[in-house]
């Protein structure tokens, strides 16, 4: 029956419209990443098959620990791989099945807790990894089936809320059933993955993250990526897409819609549970709060930002968000990031648009002049924020940084820059260009004097802004397929 599905869905569009495909739809679905003059390069790049890209990506990722020896960076890389796995799993449910699953992290938790119970001193059970991991993946898949059942009756946001209730139930049970789950104290001293010879895979050397786990995670990532890819290109995958696009039409075509939904839930849950075992085995502990809203929000952000429905896209989303969260932690690094993004952005825009280039130049001059005037009036106005190194020297000569800012300056400047930036986005023409100069400068002032003094809330503010701006610029995600919604 699904043989009758039209093939048009996965045509690349490179060789013009295929038979059975709407030309107009194809043209609109064709997303370009490079400017038109690089069209040849882009077409060549698209010819390279997905598995070559995957090999290249994994190869580069493997190279990473050689370049970088810090246990911190390696662990962040490991966490990024975990997020990539989670994003792949969620992509099955949300991107392919079109089902809004807000209970997804509960499966991640179920996997981790199951591993913690089967391989830890908590009950004294130490199953070999080769047994416990497949068992847990199965448990996860079954749990996914159970949670998928309401999808037979509920649709859209009503389904979302039931899955959300499921996550709440998972939280309540892990927090309160202290005899089994350890409650908020969690379960500690969980076993590392065992190797066939009876050895344990080392999680750390002298307290430093051991890189072998990164490779295990990468290997699992490759397996999951390929397996899901094949599944998506099979009859099931095509059926999922028709389910996502129009459940009613799919049902009318005789597809087992209910089973397809269950299968999507179940696949996603199995991947999440598998990732959960990796998490528990490396960190050696599980706590209820590891599997709650923050994690859920992070994964959703990755999937939607990268491009829901596109495997490479969701992986890209994870690759951006996970390191970004860590980079923003460090005031020094985020400072560099801020100014590079500010001037880099202006430079890129300025190449296409001369007026933006003028604005950038004017802002630079404006800053130096204002700085000089402020210094001439009172040296204390520029004495704050001592930095070091070439880059910081520039900032110190450009941005005014009062030594002892009055208490009203921070809120006034902060709210002022928000209002100014919003105004700039409404204004047009030369007025906007003139308004942009002080606004950008005020932004830099706020960044140096308000945000950097409290890097932790600032980190989430920046994250929030990035999410808003990226969604406004690319509503379909970075690598998302543009959907043509026929009304």
């Amino acid at each position: 029956m699904s043989d009758s599905t039209p093939h048009g869905f996965h045509s690349t569009g490179a060789d013009g419209p295929a038979i059975g495909q709407d030309e107009w739809v194809a043209r609109h679905a064709d997303v370009r990443f490079l400017p038109a003059r690089f069209a040849v390069v882009e077409r060549r790049l698209r010819v390279v098959s997905w598995w070559a890209w995957l090999t290249l990506f994994v190869g580069l990722f493997c190279l990473f620990p050689i370049v970088e020896t810090s246990g911190y960076v390696r662990q962040v890389a490991f966490q990024t791989v975990l997020y990539m796995l989670l994003a792949l799993g969620l992509n099955v449910v949300v991107g392919w099945g079109g089902l809004l699953d807000l209970g997804y992290v509960a499966f991640y938790g179920i996997g981790a807790y199951a591993y913690a119970l089967l391989d830890s001193p908590h009950y004294g059970i130490h199953l070999p990894t080769i047994v416990s991991v497949p068992v847990i993946v199965l448990i996860g898949a079954l749990a996914g089936l159970v949670l998928g059942l309401p999808s037979w009756r509920l649709t859209g946001d009503y389904l979302a809320i039931v899955t959300l209730f499921f996550l709440q139930l998972f939280q309540t049970v892990t927090t309160n059933w202290q005899n089994v789950t350890g409650g908020p104290f969690g379960i500690l001293n969980i076993d590392a993955f065992g190797l066939p010879g009876g050895h344990k895979l080392k999680t750390e050397h002298g307290g430093v993250f051991a890189v072998s786990y990164l490779y295990v995670a990468l290997a699992i990532f490759v397996v999951v990526f390929v397996a899901l890819r094949l599944l998506n290109n099979s009859r099931t995958g095509r059926a999922w897409r028709s389910l996502r696009e129009d459940p009613l039409a799919a049902e009318a075509m005789g597809m087992p819609v209910n089973w397809l939904k269950l299968l999507a839930f179940s696949c996603g849950a199995a991947v999440a549970a598998l990732t959960g075992t990796l998490n528990a085995a490396l960190f050696g502990n599980v706590f209820p709060l590891n599997f709650y809203f923050i994690t859920l929000i992070t994964i959703y952000t990755m999937v939607i930002l990268g491009g829901s429905g596109n495997q490479a896209g969701v992986v890209l989303g994870a690759l951006i968000i996970s390191p970004l969260l860590e980079l923003l932690r460090d005031a020094d690094k985020s400072r560099v990031l801020f100014f590079v993004a500010l001037f880099g952005g202006l430079a890129i825009l300025g190449r296409r648009n001369r007026r933006i280039a003028m604005v950038a130049g004017a802002t630079l001059v404006f800053g130096f002049v204002l700085h000089a005037i402020a210094r001439a009036i009172d040296g204390g106005w520029v004495a704050g924020q001592p930095g070091a190194g070439g880059f910081a020297t520039f900032v110190d000569h450009w941005v005014i940084a009062p030594q002892q800012p009055a208490r009203w300056i921070a809120p006034v400047a902060y709210i002022g820059v928000i209002v100014a930036a919003l105004l700039c986005s409404v204004l047009r023409g030369i007025v906007r260009d003139i308004a942009l100069v002080p606004t950008i400068y005020l932004g830099a002032f706020v960044w140096e004097n308000v945000m950097l003094s409290k890097p932790d809330p600032a980190r989430y503010i920046v994250l929030g802004l990035i999410l808003i701006v990226l969604m406004v610029l690319r509503p379909n995600g970075l690598l998302g397929e543009r959907r043509v919604e026929i009304v």
């Binding site: 309401p150 809320i161 009613l248 952000t301 919003l422 929030g464 406004v472 379909n476």
Partner: protein, 314 residues
Amino acid sequence: MDQFIQLTVDGLTLGSVYALIALGYTLVYGVLKLLNFAHGDVFMVGTFVGFGVLQVLGGPANPKVPIWLVITLVTLAAMAVCAALGVAIERFAYRPLRDAPRIAPLISALGVSFFLANSMQLLFGATPRNYDLFQYHTGTLYLRGLHIGGVTVPLLRIITIVAAFILMVILWFLVNKTRTGKAMRATSFDREAAAMMGIDIDRVIVFTFILGSALAGAAGVMFSLRVPTNVSIGFIAGLKGFIAAVIGGIGSIPGAMAGGLILGFLESYIQGYVHGAHIPDGTQWSDLYVFSVLIALMLFRHQGLFGRPDIRKV
């Protein structure tokens, strides 16, 4: 009996605040089909605006004007600021995404939520704020009130419940008896058709955000009249409002009211009544019971209580 009255009053107080939050969710969902996850943070800003105005008016111990006027002014200020905030959020975070896939504004809403909560912390610090109306005449607002059986229903609770009720009546009037309300209903029924009939969709949406956010501001004040607030309260408030809105049938105004009250009563009665030697205790496991009941409810009425059944067109 006394316990029942007490729990009913508790549930009513909790529920009316939930209902106010849920109304904001439901209104926005009605016209935009958007889950406005930043709504809880608008609520949080409302609690802080209220706190600020309360301090300007002399604080709870020595208010410069009569206490009823203090509460009214605080509420109106919070509503005004939140309404402005709501309009700004709609204009800059949602309007550019109006024709995007439905899931995209969800992420931009999350972005707004992160932005608001952490901006408040950046500017005002993470210290919890307490309106502390107990300070007013050493607890008059807590100890005076209606006597029902052996239970005193304190003034503060009466104020909360009555204020919520008044706001809902006003909302009902605005939506059902004014031209703009009519336009709103038309838009929520079918946006394209409404636009073709000459309804200014942008105006309707802005109006909806004003209404929803003002209600969130009022809810923020009603909430923090009795318990302390902090910059991260928005998340849990938004979650409760979302739940209430969906069980009532998202998009439905009476549904949001009913959903809020149901959630409030459910929490209150379960915590108060469920206990025994052989079952998990209702206080410790209140979430377990509440969410199990709600799942059952959703499975039984899968468009929420007042939700319009989904007409599926082929």
